[in-house]
Amino acid sequence: MAKYIFKRIFQAIPLLLIISIICFSLIKLAPYNAVDAMTTPNMPEQTVNLIKVKYGFDKPAYVQYFLWLKGILSGQFGYSIVTHESITNDLGARIPATIMLVLPAYILAIVIAIILGLIAGANKDKKIDKIIDGFCSIGIAIPSFWFAMIMIFLFGYKLSLLPILGMHTIGMEKSFFDFLKHYIMPCFVLTMAFLPGLIRYIRSSTISQISEGYVTVQNAFGGSKKEILFKHVYKNVLLPVITKIGMALPMLVTGAMITETVFGWPGVGPYFVKAVQGLDYPVIMAILIVSSSLVIIGNLLSDILYCLIDPRIKEMR
């Protein structure tokens, strides 16, 4: 098994390298670069050259790539060409805010989805299944930003119950209650956005598990429906959910872009959208490389986890 894990890690490395090359080429292809941002048209050529030398822009492209890669590996993503702030510091401040929003929402969504999905799958084509499945079909069709706007209108404007923007009221940064009031709406919107897809997934895997032989045997031995569902079926349904969790890793950074933007949550979302609108390539590429690395690492983790948990896979390798 160690061999399998080693093989998977070995396969992931070239993928990461290729993505870094793509990112770097995109920065190079961009019509506007860091040197243009730091210089003004009436600067003497010598000054421009000095700046180029200072930041390594005088070297050939492949040397620049290795310098850039070296920077990323040591945690230096370079500087924004709009604000001239260090991207590492900016991301360091924003990623925790995003995780704080996405992680609880995702866990909540998974727990609710497991319960509803099991119920719907076990009662396929009955009334309760039709209700849950109908909820999913509509839920998938609702854009999360629209739902967020409706929530803001209802609870923010009409009922004036909840604040509509940001994470804290100015001057009340320490108050936990104040934070909670800001937290409820984005968290709820995000949970609702995750929910339909997860329910569908668990519902369909419940349905396929119920048609398996071991359920027929349990039925023949007179096991009650509840007992079979919560003692046997749910374990087998949870197994693939673990792979889902691994693949959800990148969502900790990019999972709430739209929700964050609507609610002005100080996470990665508004930072990214602002960078895109301001054509701030270094920032965009930093987020691109972080999120795609997380996708690859997430897939790797879920493969390894799956292989640790499911004895059948262990034997196959």
């Binding site: 993928l15 069709a141 629209w146 990019t254 895109v276 691109l288 795609s292």
Partner: protein
């Protein structure tokens, strides 16, 4: 054969009211979008004397912050959203089917190379990928169609490849190979024809996804730009006027939801049509 299929679809529509509703709704939206030019109101006509008016007899759905008729803007917006959905779907399906069949049929090194390529593109979160590429193009209708089309074909390619792998072992394909048919002829005549049901279903869902992507991008301000309207950028506008004119958020939002819902339902109905084996709305 043909009759049984039509009968299946009829049964499906009879048993499921939501499927029937979806078909009627889509037909209506498409017809209204096509005949939008018959509306006597200019969706871009600015009228500063009637800004942010509530729905009335003159302006059935009120006006926006520049006094433009909201109903007309929504209808023209729907037209843009549908165009984006359909054209982006055609691009992505064409690429997906091409890559999928070639990869599955040729196998070996070509398959490996193409599938790794698919892996790489799919490992970048779609929103980031789409926005990154859209900044290299001039924002607007063409850019958004190209961007969505170019980056949403991976799922179809995987599906088509998997089916191709099994179809190329069937007798009629083996026979075609043995009598020396050219590969491209076999792919066009036999493989694509056999994968067709899968393609149709994936393409319908593809329209729904493309409409959703377009509205999200436009909502973030990197999609369709003013003065052209789409459902997504109407909602972006609605967000700024949410407090004073909440009705602006309702109409485009409800239309997006119903359209996406209907396209997904249409996929289910088509599945009954193209795969007669699973009768009764098998899910």
């Amino acid at each position: 054969m043909k009759n049984r299929r039509i009968k299946n679809v009829k049964d499906e529509l009879k048993s499921s009211k939501s499927a029937l509703f979806s078909l009627v709704f889509l037909a209506l939206v498409v017809l209204i979008s096509i005949f939008a030019f018959l509306i006597p109101i200019n969706p871009d006509a600015i009228d500063t004397s009637s800004m942010l008016q509530l729905p009335s007899a003159v302006h059935l759905f009120g006006t926006d912050e520049l006094g433009r008729d909201y109903l007309a803007r929504t209808i023209y917006g729907g037209r843009v959203s549908l165009i984006v959905g359909v054209l982006a779907m055609i691009i992505s399906t064409a690429i997906g089917v091409g890559v999928g069949t070639i990869s599955g049929y040729c196998g070996g090194k070509i398959d490996n190379l193409l599938m790794r390529f698919v892996d790489i593109i799919s490992s970048i979160p779609w929103m980031i990928l789409v926005t990154v590429v859209s900044i290299f193009l001039k924002p607007g209708l063409q850019a958004i169609i190209i961007v969505i089309g170019l980056f949403s074909w991976m799922e179809i390619a995987r599906l088509v490849r998997a089916e191709t792998l099994s179809i190329k072992e069937r007798e009629y394909v083996l026979y075609a190979v043995s009598i020396g048919q050219a590969s491209w002829k076999i792919i066009l005549k036999h493989i694509i024809l056999s994968v067709f049901p899968t393609i149709i279903i994936a393409a319908t869902a593809g329209i729904a996804d493309a409409i959703m992507t377009e509205s999200s991008l436009s909502f973030l301000g990197i999609g369709i730009q003013q003065p052209m309207s789409s459902w997504g950028n109407l909602l972006k506008n609605a967000q700024t006027n949410l407090q004073s004119a909440p009705y602006m958020a309702i109409l485009p939002g409800v239309l997006i939801i119903l359209t996406i819902y209907s396209f997904n339902k249409l996929g289910n109905v088509l599945r009954v049509f193209v795969e007669p084996k699973i009768v009764g709305g098998g899910r």
